[in-house]
Assembly symmetry: C2
Homo-oligomer: 357 residues x 2
DNA sequence: ATGAAAGCGCTAACAA
DNA sequence: TTGTTAGCGCTTTCAT
């Protein structure tokens, strides 16, 4: 911030020969009556002097910053894409979004970032299901700053005004059915216990899917986190394959990263994909369409998720003006689902799950 | 930002029975003499009332925000990793870093984000070589807010105080030599003309590398952007391979994404990698170690790059206190290289360039 | 060792 | 239609 004197509304007022209140009114396009001559003079002065609004001063005075803060565990993969989408969406509704990466799931770092955001007096907070305890969150955020979560299940509403969650349950259910239809009579899920909440949703979905199948299908879950390498995971899956029938074994991974790791390891061992294994990931990361073979995955509609996060946020902020710009079906879905909104995923089929040949 | 009255230093002053000036001194741990009793009382009051500093007010008064702004074209891949690293580094030196994704290389969006950052009165700006013109940048940023660039070549110092650049020239040179040593006597570079500046550095490096080889080697460059699909690119490379000798053809891609696309396309066509092609990417994206086959790539030392960006920034900000925390060799390298600092890359060898079998 | 007071740049009643 | 003025919460001389 430049120490040298910046151009302020006082300068503009002088140059335009009006009062600072008038300048403020012009600059903020307020609905008070003003002569077009005044408007012109002020705008010209602003242009000529190179005026740039000081939003800190404005926010301080207005007691509202139109600034939102967001915390993600990483800029990589889904979280980065979602953050980008949230920035776009926030802007569309008149807010700015600062995103911080907690660089993992470290509660201490989360806490620090949240504190900074609160010190900046952001109007609202957007977080993933936090690593820090609910109690710590309640205490830190307190009242007054709405917190909207994404992919967080079962948080009490006295902490967060709501959550917008990807529907992994239904999504994984669908993946299971897809694998079954492609000939799999054995299905393995490769989970990540370290990401408990979101892993759990997937497990439920897989279990539901298997149970609903027209015939009994064997299924196994593995915790990829607890193995030293992806090769070790592969060994386990190989064992399952050994005692299963002749058809392909279906594999669903926690996300596209572990799924791709597994697929590559299988290829290195000489297995065919598809053929010996049919493999599907989750996230529809761009890598799924450029890897070999290209990989079936669950697409996450980040734009829709962002819209609903924003919707909940604006409701909490009582920003009726912005709120009125939502399409009717969004508002009604939000009203129907309450403070935990489900976002449906979409299965994208690629070669990794083509019918065994 | 909560409309309801927030706890201010006035409240603390009252509770502790001291003046607001004293409260401010205590809270900021200033070096003025204070009785430990006063300190205790103030800190206790702050604790009890749940005080949280309002940094907007502080920044406004201090005319310094300790806030930095950064613009990246995307949160994906290298830029996201670098942004994360910059946040960490900035924090280590007492600053906070808000990162915005321009969602591509759109000059209009860049402009908007920069303007917002300047309105927030950030102390400094960190950008990639911008899509917007140098003239527009000069006009927008003006004086007073230092701009440090990364991966930007040849920007005048009256716009940016300096640039910290990945040394793609030397890096690509090294990749070429590596491919040669592994048996390639023909080398193809798959570029991206849309990313002109950074593509150019790679081309120079490849050319240099080829020229320095002990024997003549054929080389070709293709612009992946100008083809409809990666298969179309592959066709071109196949043509090159057809008129080259029996050994493997070496392929270097603009980044790991186009490289992996190419590799997968080649595998789909039945080529062997390594074998028919030896393939190397750039960025050392995490995907390089989980794809099939795992892929040789150039690692980008983001932590080092972040340190130097911070160093240039702190110099521009005259923050001698923070500056003194840099290791001697960093300071001397910066002094030696001036306002365009080169960061060396590191070749990471993987199976995609193993000796042809 | 502590306090009084003048800002920082802007907003928002309220007056004129 | 425009202007006056009292804050917003904090920092920072300068007195005491």
């Amino acid at each position: 911030m430049s120490k040298k004197r910046q151009v302020t509304i006082v300068d503009l007022a002088e140059a335009a020969g009006v009062s600072i209140a008038t300048v403020s009114n012009v600059l903020n396009r307020r609905k008070v009556p003003m002569s077009s001559e005044t408007i012109r003079k002020v705008e010209q002065a602003a242009e000529e002097l190179g005026y740039r609004r000081n939003v800190m001063a404005a926010s301080l005075s207005r007691k509202k910053s139109y600034e939102l803060g967001m915390l993600v565990p990483s800029f990589a993969g889904y979280h980065g894409r979602f953050a980008e989408e949230m920035q776009r969406t926030a802007h569309a509704y008149g807010y700015h979004l600062s995103v911080f990466s907690a660089a993992g799931f470290d509660p201490e770092i989360e806490k620090r970032h949240l504190d900074v955001l609160l010190q900046r007096r952001v109007d609202g907070l957007i977080c993933h299901g936090l690593a820090m305890s609910q109690e710590a969150t309640r205490q830190l955020v307190g009242v007054g700053t709405p917190l909207v979560l994404f992919n967080a299940w079962g948080w009490p509403t006295d902490i967060a005004v709501g959550a917008v969650n990807l529907d992994f349950v239904v999504g994984c259910d669908e993946v299971v059915r897809h694998l079954y239809e492609r000939g799999c009579r054995t299905i393995c899920y490769l989970g990540k216990s370290s990401l408990y909440a979101t892993d759990r949703q997937r497990r439920i979905g897989v279990r539901n899917g298997v149970q609903e199948l027209p015939e009994p299908v064997a299924s196994e879950s593995f915790d990829a986190d607890s193995f030293a390498s992806i090769e070790a995971v592969l060994e386990q899956v190989e064992a399952v394959k050994a005692r299963s029938g002749p058809g392909p074994v279906g594999v669903i991974g926690f996300d596209d990263i572990v799924t791709l790791s597994f697929m590559s390891a299988a290829l290195r061992q000489g297995y065919r994909v598809p053929g010996d294994f049919l493999i599907a990931g989750i996230n529809n990361d761009p890598v799924t369409s450029i890897c070999y073979p290209d990989m079936t995955s669950l697409a996450l509609p980040t734009a829709m998720q962002a819209e609903f996060v924003m919707l909940l946020m604006l409701q909490a902020l009582d920003d009726t003006a912005a709120l009125s710009r939502f399409p009717e079906d969004y508002l009604s879905k939000a009203a129907r689902e309450g403070h935990e909104i489900q976002i449906p995923l979409r299965l994208v089929q690629r070669r990794s799950t083509e019918r065994a040949y």
